[in-house]
Subunit: 315 residues, 2 copies
């Protein structure tokens, strides 16, 4: 048995057994049962060493995050996670690394009851691609194109923690453990996404920063928005960094938050506040008819929002 | 619009529109309809520069092959191709490269009526991951574990062409165009796979070489096999190379063939020969009770088969 065969063996049994997996890892394809009346929701994402994580990153964090990114996309549609596939490219067959990676991937799989049903292990520069598969009753998915003028805009969790951690790491500084955890082990907001079915008119997950990701909702829905920056949910350290510099890029455009941004008709605001999901959320703005994104500063000034580009450096 | 946004735009409309795509590229997830009574078949595969293709490879060939590998896995289950997702990692946003890549990917998508429904474009060392999604009536999939003693073993197309082409390229020799085409533009045997539903007891696609891939069937089915090497379907140039050296690794263990290997009960041999699929196929051996793979040489001698390892060099 080659080392790569050994590694494949690690991935035979990740996540709980599920009755809807007719055939899992080990054949040319996995065979899956999608119940009648349900849509299959799929999302594929790659994390590359040096771009999406630092080369010396804890392998357990890479395993966690590679799956979390896909689960966050499922959450953003209001889908229930079901299955994953994993394509892992490794420079060498390092079993210690793989064990840690697998532990991180497995723990999050178990949290969400998601089964790994297929994969590919190849040699090359370190990179991880995961496809997440979820289920959602036909017609119940929360898309990006349903926002209407007057809708209230909400954001879950806190923004900018991961970006502040990355900035510290790249500067060689010691990083607050909470921030570091937010960077390495983001929490996909699956329960919140499910709770918002039938309530949110539009939703997206925040991977590239609130300004750019909200703009995807605005473009798809043909509307604009105004954000009140003083309402943004910030942890104390991010709030301090913003106050010190007056630079709002940490919560607005540095990305890596994996929180949900969603829109709610104003007359359903009480229904939303009554939800008891897996994380807090806060109202941050309002959809309006005029196109564009207006960011209102605490002092009353405004600026126009901008997104995140993988070729820009945000740290 | 950033260059990467431009590139994403290239991938918005690949393959035919399909009524079973409720939501395609452009949201957090694609939403897909799997008909009642059908299994979803999925396979994910990565091609990395320098490992699965040469750095100077025609981008159209990379686009073709990245999808062909997944379609070959669907074929090997007897599944009907339906949808693909694509995770593309590029060192730079080279639009000329992307146009060629997209052309190769699109042409094969159109051939098989498969729609690109989601993707991710990231920066990093060149690498392509594709997930192929197919449909198959529940219970009709052809797995690896159904081979029975006495079954006849068949192989489609010809073996070793791609490996001989790669050997020539790595040696800096001029390579026969037919061989080069077999390396760069492998043909997934989709129609043959579909035709074998209800007929083949076991099937696999040949990516790592006949000996190693057949061994997966033997292991899963708990049986052995004998191959008659003089029966292997070889193109004239591969036959010449084998005759010259007496080395059978080109057709047996160098891989990259993307042909189908399948097992048929002896009493259904006539039914198989009556098929008119998209490619020829030939009987090459027989399943037997004793475990292991016996390769019988044309002179009557025998040896035990061996597979392909990504860390071994076969060229």
């Amino acid at each position: 048995m080659s080392e790569f065969d050994l590694i494949r063996t690690f991935f035979r049994d990740i996540g709980p057994q599920r009755a809807d997996v007719a055939l899992g890892v080990g054949d040319d394809c996995a065979l899956l049962n999608v119940p009648a009346g349900q849509h299959l929701a799929v999302s594929i994402d790659t994390l590359s060493a040096g771009v999406h994580f630092l080369p010396n990153c804890d392998p357990a964090a890479i395993g966690h995050k590679a799956l979390a990114v896909g689960l966050s996309d499922l959450a953003a549609m209001g889908a229930q996670p079901a299955w994953s596939t994993l394509a892992l490219t490794l420079p060498t067959a390092d079993t210690a690394w793989i064990e840690r990676f697998s532990a991180g991937f497995t723990a999050l799989s178990n949290t969400h009851g998601i089964r790994l049903v297929g994969g590919d292990t190849t040699r090359g520069p370190l990179s991880v691609t995961v496809q997440a598969h979820g289920l959602i009753p036909a017609g119940a998915a929360i898309r990006r194109d349903g926002a209407r003028p007057g809708d209230l805009i909400f954001v879950s969790g806190t923004l900018g923690d991961a970006a502040l951690a990355l900035r510290g790491l790249l500067a060689g500084e010691s990083v607050d453990p909470m921030l570091r955890h937010r960077l390495d082990f983001p929490t996909p907001r699956v329960a919140l996404g499910l709770a918002l079915r039938g309530l949110a008119t539009a939703m997206i997950d925040l991977s590239d920063g609130l300004a750019g990701d909200l703009d995807h909702i605005l473009t798809a829905s043909g509307v604009g928005a105004e954000l009140a920056l003083k309402q943004l949910p910030l942890s104390p350290l991010v709030a301090e960094a913003v106050a010190k510099t007056g630079d709002w890029s940490l919560p607005l455009s540095c990305g890596d938050d994996y929180e949900l941004c969603f829109c709610i008709p104003a007359d359903r605001a009480d229904d939303v506040q009554a939800l008891m999901p897996d994380c807090p959320f806060r109202r941050v703005g309002r959809i309006q008819t005029e196109r564009g994104l207006i960011c209102r500063l605490p002092d009353g000034g405004v600026f126009i929002g901008g997104g995140y580009d993988h070729f820009a450096i945000c740290a």
